[in-house]
Structure formats: C-alpha cells, structure tokens
Symmetry: C2
C-alpha cells in the first residue's frame, strides 16, 4: 500500500516580499511604472536567494490596480513550477476566488521578459487579456544561462488569436541590467539535470 503520499503543496511569497506588500502602491497607472516595480522585485529576488531574477505582477488593465505580486520561488518553495508568472497568476486567482481572471474584468500580466514555455501556457489559460513584457530574444538565455524551452516562432500572434494582447519592449534595457548582474554573480543557476538543461522565471 502506498504510504506518505503528499496531498497538497503551497506556493508562498518570500518573507521579505510579504513584508513589503503593505508599502506597495494600490495602483500603478502606466506600463512603465508597473515594469519598474517588476524589475525592482526581480533584482532583489535573486539577491535574496529565493530563485531566479524574475518577477511578475497582475494589474487591472484599465485602472492599474495592483491585484497580485509574484517572484520566482523555485528555490524558496521547493516547487519547480513556482516561476514568477505562475506565482503571480495563482495569487491573483486566490485573491479573486476564481480560476478565470477574465471572468469579471480585463487583467494584465506584467513580467520582465517573454515567459518560458511553461509560463507561456500558464498565461494562456489564466484568463488575463493582456501580457506586458520588457523584452523578447536570446539575451535572457545568454546573460543568465537559463533555458527558456522550445517556443513556437509566432508566440505573440498565438496570444492575440486567443484574445490576449501583447505589449513589448517596456523598460527593456533595465531588464537586461538585472539579468547581467545576475549572470555576473555567483548565484545558483538551479538546474534539474546538471549542465544540460536549465530553467527559469
């Protein structure tokens, strides 16, 4: 008979971020203000040792109301799917009490690079109707050594075809600065199978 199988797991924000939440603004009006927060959290996240240099927030697309805040918690939570996007989307769903973030209003996911292949799907099924990214391209993998996984070439068009608009290149240089600092540090590039395949955000 099977013994000791787990029946639940939990994704939790790191303590430093939990403590910061009450001080965050209730609204972030522009994509630039939203992304500036994302970059700040991404940079602190890897320095705190919680996971990769990635953060994401969910905001009301019309008002900029902050609905959730996430960072990569793979190392902190011990769960490999705990990327910034999965964390932010799950926390938004927990707060709003629905698996469908598009049920009542238009919400946007704001993240500091094009999602990896896991978070590409996670975003697609979440109900958000807008994705805002700082950038796209090989720079992330080159600077951080994370593997983003195999993506279709028309990834943005596939979002648009499903009713999710994509806004690109918001504070792109600032994203690269975070990745560069991470890559030049001695931080753990956590990697499930040695040097072969890496993971991220």
């Amino acid at each position: 008979m099977a013994d000791g199988l787990a029946t639940s797991f939990t994704i939790t924000l790191p303590a430093w971020l939990g403590a910061l939440l009450p001080d965050l603004p209730s609204h972030l009006a522009t994509p630039e203000e939203q992304m500036a927060l994302v970059h700040r959290l991404a940079d602190r996240n890897w320095r705190e040792g919680n996971g990769g240099p990635f953060a994401a927030i969910v905001v009301d697309a019309a008002t900029g109301e902050l609905v959730s805040v996430g960072v990569n918690v793979v190392l902190a939570s011990g769960v490999s799917s705990g990327h910034a996007e999965v964390t932010a989307l799950g926390l938004a769903q927990a707060r709003l009490g629905t698996w469908d973030l598009g049920a009542h209003r238009n919400l946007a996911l704001v993240v500091n690079w094009r999602p990896c292949v896991q978070c590409y799907g996670a975003t697609m099924w979440s109900g958000v109707t807008r994705l805002v990214v700082a950038g796209d391209g090989p720079e992330l993998e080159r600077l951080t050594h994370f593997d983003e996984g195999p993506m279709v070439a028309d990834w943005a068009a596939q979002f648009e075809a499903r009713g999710i608009s994509v806004v690109q290149d918001v504070l792109r240089d600032e994203a690269l600065a975070v990745f560069r600092a991470y890559g030049e540090s001695d931080a753990t590039v956590y990697n499930a199978r040695g040097q072969g395949a890496l993971e991220r955000d």
Copy 2:
C-alpha cells in the same frame, strides 16, 4: 497602499482522491499498470467535477514505486495552473523536499496524453528523466474541446535532447475512451475567455 494582496496559494488533491491514497499499491511495476491507474483517476476526476479528464503520477523509473498522484484540480482549487502534471510534480517535490526530482534517482511522469504547452515546460524543468504518455495527436482536442496550446513539432526530440526519454502509446485506446465519455457528457469545459480559447489537463 496595496491592501489584501494574497501571499500564498495551495494546490490540494480532492477529498475523494485523498481518501483513496492509502488503498493504492506502493509499486506499479509496468507502464501499463501505471497508465491503468492514471486512466482510472482521470475518468473519476471529471465525473467528480474537480476539473478535466486528466491525471498523472510520478513513479520511480526503476522500481515503479509510487511517489505522487495528481489530477486536474482547476475547478476544485480555483488555480488555472493546477493541471494534472503540475499537481503530480509539485506533490512529488513536496514529498521529497526538493525542486529537483532528478537529484537522487530517476523518476518518471506518467500522464494520459501529451502534456499541454504549460505542462510541457513544467515537465522539462521538474527533474524527471522519463515521460510516459498514452498518446499524442489531435484526438484529445477533438474529443474534449480543450485547447492544448501552440507546441513545437519536435516536442519529443526536445525532451530527449534534455535527457528526458519519452515513451508513447501506452494504453492509447483506453485514453480515448475517457476523453470520449467526457466530451459526450454535459461537463463544464472550463474556459478562461468564452468560446475562444480553452484549457486543460
């Protein structure tokens, strides 16, 4: 100031499955035995109203020891990333206390169809070194009306290139029978954005 932001979310097995765990065998020696359990859980899952007709287990690739059991809990948990694979992988990581399932031994993920694009990435970064699927192809989407998302054509080769072997077509007809029963029922095909884009496993 931001108010009432969530700091954690939890993925939990449905009560019926938690109650079943002590009665499951500790080992499932063959891929066929493993997949038969997956099919049984997938079929019960949608009938119980927890989510889609999808289940997954993590087993020791050498001994068949059962390490975790997951089902799609999108409806039950209110978290859209709570697909069967994400659930089974996260529960295995919770049990073993590591985000890297490949840290100490070779583990396999057994699931009743090729993963959707989210779970493709989730599997890739989990540390498992083998993926066993009942099948691949358009039948799943046709029978259930779920959207699997945009996948690269060489998805299995991409796994192999990262040290993850892929075993296909284990009890394929039995998988289709579950999907067909689901599709012919009046179960909710939960869908984050109306008729346009669906989700799954």
